[in-house]
Symmetry: C2
Subunit: 125 residues, 2 copies
DNA sequence: TAGTGGTATGATAAATTCATCATTCCATCA
DNA sequence: TGATGGAATGATGAATTTATCATACCACTA
């Protein structure tokens, strides 16, 4: 589902996130973000992800539809590239957010195990 | 669908984007991002979005599950807040990306209308 | 024209969303 | 204290979207 250009921005934005909302597509984008010039051939993505060719191609097609990546064919091989460096930024910030969140919840877990039941007593230390 | 903490990061990241991948949830998050202290009561979100109460609540529940927002009840009202300022950053970068992309495609459109067929001739000016 | 590298299509299975209704929580007032 | 009402949440099934899989197809090279 691709938004018409005159749709409200919050709807277009939701569709962008939808395009990113799949583990295989995240891996693909991270591989591109880490590659020199954010560029890599399909054959590389294929071997790194271990996906079946047709599955990989389907995910690449949805990324293309949403203009998150661009592709160029040279001779017999197709190479993909991030359409815009802001995609890499998006991934980096998402990672930071998740690390914050995961750190918080393992902290919660640690506290709960260290002082079992303490949170019920009203004692602060 | 919420990821277990030991899932690979790319899967957790995909689920985060999935949590954002709905127009109503984007609107909610943008309202919070724009509100003082990134905080607003449900009643405010209700009137601003025009959603039906139970629908709004469903979306708030998925945002909570993914720890994108937190909620506090005081007396008879519940207030929500962004769990982390990085969520606002994510939205801001997505907006920049989309503005870039939309600018490019309307530029494409303009060129195509200005010089109809010129791209077929091989002439560069 | 055979072969390799990628892509499109179409059917089925799975996950999300939407709509409706029931329930909980808490303040207030009889 | 318990009945009422507003605010928000939860639960359910139907409808829509998205993912998955297998297979057919296209583009280019040798």
């Amino acid at each position: 589902m691709i938004s018409p250009a005159q749709a409200p921005l919050y709807e277009i934005k939701a569709n962008l996130f939808k395009a990113l909302a799949h583990p295989a597509r995240i891996r693909i984008l991270e591989l591109l973000a880490a590659a020199p010039d954010t560029t890599a051939p399909v054959s590389f993505l294929l071997s790194e992800t271990g996906l079946e060719a047709s599955h990989l191609s389907q995910h690449l097609a949805t990324l293309r539809r949403h203009k998150v990546v661009t592709s160029v064919r040279s001779a017999n091989a197709v190479t993909y590239r991030l359409a815009n460096p802001k995609i890499a930024e998006l991934l980096a910030i998402a990672r930071m957010f998740l690390l914050d969140t995961l750190a918080d919840s393992s902290e919660q877990l640690r506290l709960a195990q260290e002082l079992p039941g303490a949170h019920l007593t009203g004692q602060s230390s």
